[in-house]
Amino acid sequence: MNAAANVVSLKDRVLEILSHVPDPEIPCVSVVELGIVRDVRDSEKPTLVITPTYTGCPATIAIEQSIRAALDRAGLCGMTIETTLSPPWTTDWISEEGRDKLRAYGIAPPPKGEGQHSLRASIVQCPRCGSTHTEEISAFGSTPCKALYRCTECEEPFDLFKCH
């Protein structure tokens, strides 16, 4: 096996392992789908690079612990976990699959392409009935990444994954 093939295989292996590690607050999505796994470096010191969502999100510590445990279980005890802040995480990195899972879970996913501005989503679709007739109840919700909304069509309240 040449070196290039090696890099691909370790990366693929790690991504496969991490695709089963759920976000502790929103367990319907994995840490890979959330876009916080940034890189896998296969060198003398194999390293996994992750990035936090919000600077103060308490889940960041829990996520690192779950990742560590999953890597250890898979026999990758020697792998170093490195945290990087740059470039800063954005909701644009949440995968399409992750978005679908959020919606199915009852959380409106952040519209794509609006994350860079940290603005409220221009159009928020109700994850239950699909209506865009929605209004904000509270700019802050039960976790740092969510805001509280209400659908004026089906009258159900729901969480919006904030654009970030």
Binding site: Y54, T55, G56, W89, S138, G141, K162
Partner: protein, 241 residues
């Protein structure tokens, strides 16, 4: 520390102390806010600010090379060694006074973080770029509440005016030519004036600025805040969850 590292250390301490102290103040609202949504909002803003403080103080500790991490710097420094601005240590007062403080601070911090995000020191700029998105959201929240209270009932308007009057004297320090960010003053003035106009409020009258926080000369409020914040790690050194 060499001269350059010494400057970076003090810079990072200031940048970390502001969000740390304000986060501690905002946390006092937890369980006491006027509405559940406000409780969540203030606690969430505090959480973001604690996160920023952890990063900036962590960097300060790294640069200092004396084995102090963010926790050591937050919990084992005395009041004279804190270099936060006086604005963030001011008491919460009522909700309008808390909003006044957040409004004046977040609009300043957002401008400052844009500048930090463009800094040549990469560790500093990474934290700045990360923080600026959160702060933009805080500023928007505070701006909206200034308008809601200022343009609300007679009582909410009177309280908003009183809150701004109380906090106004602490804003001069933010733009001090020596210890502040004087270059941000024009843009900050414009932002503040824009939101106050929308709220139907007038700019508070000019007052002599209260200064000293950046040199460790604080109002008496900071000591009380630290007593509570630092109690546990000092009473039980090395305590873990």
């Amino acid at each position: 520390m060499a001269g350059e590292e010494n400057i970076l250390f003090h810079h990072a301490i200031r940048l970390g102390d502001d969000p740390l102290i304000l986060a501690q103040r905002l946390s006092e609202w937890c369980g006491h806010a006027p509405m559940l949504e406000i409780d969540l909002a203030l606690a969430n803003i505090a959480l973001d600010l604690f996160g920023q403080a952890t990063h900036f103080l962590g960097l300060a500790g790294e640069v200092e090379c004396k084995g102090r991490d963010a926790d050591a710097l937050a919990f084992h420094r005395d009041v004279l060694d804190f270099h936060n601005c006086l604005l963030v240590e001011q008491p919460n007062g009522d909700f309008a006074q808390t909003i006044a403080r957040q409004f004046l601070f977040s609009n300043w911090q957002e401008l400052l973080m844009h500048e930090i995000a463009a800094a040549s020191e990469l560790r500093l700029s990474a934290i700045g770029a990360k923080a600026v998105k959160e702060i933009t959201y805080h500023a928007r929240f505070a701006n909206e509440w200034v308008v809601r209270l200022g343009d609300g009932t007679e009582e909410s308007r009177a309280r908003m005016i009183a809150g701004l009057e109380w906090m106004w004297r602490f804003t001069g320090e933010l733009f001090d030519p020596v210890d502040g960010a004087a270059s941000l003053k024009t843009e900050w003035d414009a932002r503040i004036a824009r939101t106050l106009a929308e709220a139907g409020l007038e700019l508070p009258k000019p007052r002599r600025a209260a200064m000293g926080g950046r040199k460790g000369h604080h109002s008496e409020h900071l000591g009380h805040l630290l007593t509570e914040m630092q109690f546990l790690p000092r009473a039980y050194p090395g305590a873990l969850w």
